[in-house]
Amino acid sequence: MIRHAKNPQKSNIDGENRILEQSELTGIPSEETTVSEEAAPSEETLVYITNIVPPARNVSGRTLKERSVLTKNSAVCARLVLIFFAIWLAAAALLPLTSSWKDSEANVLKEWPALTFDDYFSGRYTYGIMERYNAMASDHEFLKAAGTGIRSFFGPGDPEPVLPHAETSETAVSSGPRTSDQSSDDASYDVVQSRNYHITNPDVLEAAGHLIVKQDGHWRALSLYEGGDVSVYAGTINYIRQMLDDSINIYVMPIPKAVQFYIPANYADRSADMKDAYRSLTIKLISGITPVDIIEVLNNHNLEPIFLRTDTHWAPLAAYYSAREFTRAAAVAFEGLETYSIRERKDYLGSVYAVTGSNEILNDPETFVYYIPTGSYTADYYAPDYRYLFSGGLFFDVPDADFFHVFLGRDDYIIKVTTDTANGRKLLLVKDSFGNALVPFLTGSFEEIYVVDQSHFDLNLIRFVNEAGITDLLLAQDYDSLTSDHAELLEYITYSNLDAPIEDLAPNALLPADSNPDLDEETYIAPPAPDEIRSEPETTVPQGEPAVAISAEELEPVYEKITWEEDWAADGYEEEYWEDDGYVEEDWADDWYEEAVWEEEGWEEDGWQEEDYVYQEEGYEEPYWDDEN
């Protein structure tokens, strides 16, 4: 009978440990002994088992005085810990909720989680209580920053793991060989930090057509994707391909929305799969068009902040990964993220709050991180009809509520970015609001970048590509733009405005060396707004050139004209007006001067542009517009 020691001796500290004998571990007796069923454990075995727990350290070997001092010290140390706990407990429980560094966290949890049968047995109730406490426990931001700081001591490099990932078959293949000027960042492996968010998630709310989900301790708004037919979009791109020379590369890079990556499994049927739309699009495209799939690319980084939580747009980091993927397809150089200057805007609340009024979003703002290129470039801004407005950088001083427009200021410009990348490649980016974030990441890849918003372009796209000497055309809109009414916008700018004049009237300014207007945030200007345009406009001075003041009178009619023609273009009124009512002819007929000019100058043949100049010379335009207004 094996007996266990009833009162095993204990040790105060980790002392010696008697190593178990090998025969005891294997259970196989040595060959010298035989085991019989009636064999009683030997005295040796009995002795061994009582020594399982190592003997206590012989404290009694100390003198009485030493024991008393050590005991007293133990009490002091124990009290130190109790004081530490008490401080922490007081900070968590007793400080008022209106404390400045807890407002944002505490407001999230003003109400205790509701106790329901389902919530309790699913664990949500107790989890919610813990979450509330964890948020209240201390200055959350400080702790997080401290934690990040501590982890920075783990090694000379970045402790965040990045790992090799085999390229997927869905990655677009470049139509050309990679050139030797590929950036060193373009390694054969892509970095991956991802996890599967398509799991059942009970913490989901609905508001104004959005899902508000809680993931990784934060609330995220998801705008649903309805899907739809991409035929119009594909057909338009095919037409563009046919109308442009084969030497011009055309890329299509649809931009996914956050819902593709973060929708919980229990709501999966509420949003269509963008992969289906991508497949449908690529099937319809003719050869000579390179599709760039960034769904898998972004999915490999979904643990990173690639999508804004409080806005429907993607975050600049996603634009970085997408731009990199595009430059691989385009076989151009690409600047790695380490070359950018990082900026942050804390407590960012995007457009979702305004749309949904969600308190969860309100009380869980995010930090908007964006990246400033450090290379040399300058940007010229034009009205949608290509009238030059001003020059400057790519970043603007915008209000917090509209901070996504820190890139490019507004959507209704044509922009030409001139860089110091002397590779002869000129990119035309046709975008929607998502594409704004792409532009800074392409300044190291193309010599010139033209940026056109499909909703604010009064020229003909194909003519523009030819006139501007474009070598690469990239269409980058979010998946919603591939379907529904947005696809018709691309149709309009492709087929319409064939006669609209295209002439770049920006001052020809040489790009000075080391010229980067965006590295100093102090120089950011606010984008011109309708009200601001009426006052004396700010002027941006291209370096080495005298200031060209644009008066309010000159800007005002241009802006109004933009608005007017926008409306007409959207409604098709302009054509109706000209064609159905014959207004122009009537107008010309009434005014003998116009008719004369018209006939002399052959206005119909030469087009609107010449008439415009005539009007300017004669000073007719202004009265004309005034009369019309």
Partner: protein, 462 residues
């Protein structure tokens, strides 16, 4: 609820300690411990508390009956039946349900492996007459559900706590040692294991197929360190909390990577579990012709206890093969081998065995062996090295060095020399300095817990 949570460290535990030390006698303290233990369990497992309660009632009742009929055949039958029932509950709720896909590997009842072993040890000790069965159900329930040991061990037998359940004395030294141990355990778990785990999860996750040979070895070593620090850290925290309450747990880990043979590794790794299997499975004499199957069966059980899938069994058998090999070589002959050779060989075998423990997918396990042996390089499936391995090493270099250094008894040696000076006054001040260092560690861990709230969501569930 887990120990590495701000809610536990700064609310649950302080309140529990406060009430515990305000109690006038052991009886009141036991009630408080019981309430908090059940609250701890219900907090995370509101449904599976029923299984724990059923197990406690069943085993308490059966213990009394087994002791009553100990001397005749009914006692043996009752012992067999009750032990078999416990094993079936463990297999059914942990192994079968996970392998059949009925529940995920993180959803089976918390601590079922631990309290089942506790119950089996209690029943077998009752059967052997080495303990008197506990007549008070609530005390038995307290033993079974004691929250320090419930999550991840150690496996503490009833015989080791029998006296302290009803009578225990807590000195300030106990409190001090308990606090130190808890903070050391927290440091191991949060600071080291918690920051090694992302490397394992990331590199052995989706990117595994593109991982190079050296990268595989690197991540494998990281996994070994991670598992050691997590399990030993949790054991230390459990022992520390229990020590504050006046319970003295046995040592569970004794620097297993300081071993020179595979046998020695298992003499130092999760000692309470190994000694359980040794005492209750090895101790029964078997027929000579069955000893090898019995041997491998026991090792399969030891390995299988750690995992939820077949790979745990394979791990145990793999280790058992090398232990048997060492037995056949013989202790005397092994002593003649150079120490460095034994050290390296044993580490190689142990590290490779951890790879078997990690990969449950047969395909991935195959890929794993191709990579570590270098066959993958020859077949072109992977490279010898890759930049991401070096990036990870450089990003975690100091952490890795600390993890490797503190695998051994370095901390204990430093502590010993620190506080056992001949000069009593210096020793006493040194204790306060040690406590301040521990409080700094506690603060560091709190920062890390707050900074990454999900850092320890996927701990090794037992």
């Amino acid at each position: 609820m887990v120990f590495t949570n701000l809610f536990f460290i700064y609310l649950f535990l302080p309140i529990c300690l406060l009430l515990y030390f305000c109690a006038k006698n052991v009886r009141m303290r036991n009630v408080i411990l019981l309430v908090f233990s059940l609250l701890f369990y219900i907090w995370g497992e509101p449904f599976w508390i029923l299984l724990l309660l059923f197990s406690s009632i069943f085993n308490w009742f059966m213990g009394i009956q087994i002791d009553r009929f100990r001397t005749d055949s009914l006692g043996r039958k009752l012992t067999f039946f009750s032990v078999a029932a416990n094993i079936l509950i463990l297999i059914g709720f942990k192994y079968f349900s996970v392998m059949a896909g009925l529940m995920s590997e993180h959803a089976f009842p918390l601590g079922i492996s631990i309290y089942t072993l506790h119950a089996i040890s209690y029943l077998l000790d009752c059967s052997r007459g080495s303990i008197k069965p506990q007549n008070r159900y609530l005390l038995f329930l307290m033993y079974l559900s004691l929250f320090p040991q419930l999550t991840a061990g150690p496996v503490v037998r009833y015989s080791e706590l029998e006296t302290e359940l009803e009578k225990r004395r807590i000195t300030s030294s106990d409190i001090y040692e308990g606090i130190i141990k808890f903070i050391i355990g927290l440091t191991k778990t949060v600071l080291i294991a918690g920051n090694l785990y992302p490397v394992v999860r990331t590199f052995f996750g989706e990117g595994f197929f593109a991982l190079s040979t050296l990268g595989t070895w690197y991540v494998l070593l990281v996994f070994c360190l991670y598992l050691y620090y997590q399990l030993s850290g949790y054991s230390d925290m459990a022992s520390g909390i229990a020590r504050i309450f006046g319970f003295h747990y046995p040592v569970n880990f004794d620097h297993p990577f300081m071993c020179r043979t595979v046998t020695e590794f298992w003499q130092r790794w999760f000692m309470t579990q190994v000694s359980f299997f040794r005492d209750y499975m090895f101790s029964s004499p078997v027929r000579k012709e069955w000893r090898y199957p019995a041997f491998f069966l026991v090792w399969a059980c030891i390995g299988g206890w750690f995992g939820v899938s077949w790979n745990g069994l394979l791990w145990g058998i793999f280790c058992g093969i090398f232990i048997l090999l060492e037995r056949k070589i013989g202790e005397e002959r092994l002593k003649t081998w150079p120490v460095w050779l034994k050290f390296i060989l044993s580490k190689l075998i142990i590290v490779i065995s951890f790879g078997i423990l990690y990969f449950r997918d047969l395909n991935r396990l195959g890929q794993f062996f191709l990579k570590i042996t270098g066959i993958g390089i020859l077949s072109g499936q992977n490279a010898l090295t890759d930049p991401y391995t070096w990036n990870s090493i450089s990003g975690n270099l100091f952490l890795l060095i600390a993890a490797v250094l503190f695998c051994g008894p370095l901390r204990e040696r430093i502590t010993e020399s620190f506080i056992t000076s001949r000069n009593t006054i210096t020793a006493s001040r040194a204790r306060i300095v040690q406590m301040i260092l521990c409080l700094i560690l506690l603060a560091v861990c709190s920062f890390l817990i707050a900074e990454r709230p999900d850092a320890f969501m996927e701990y090794w569930r037992l």
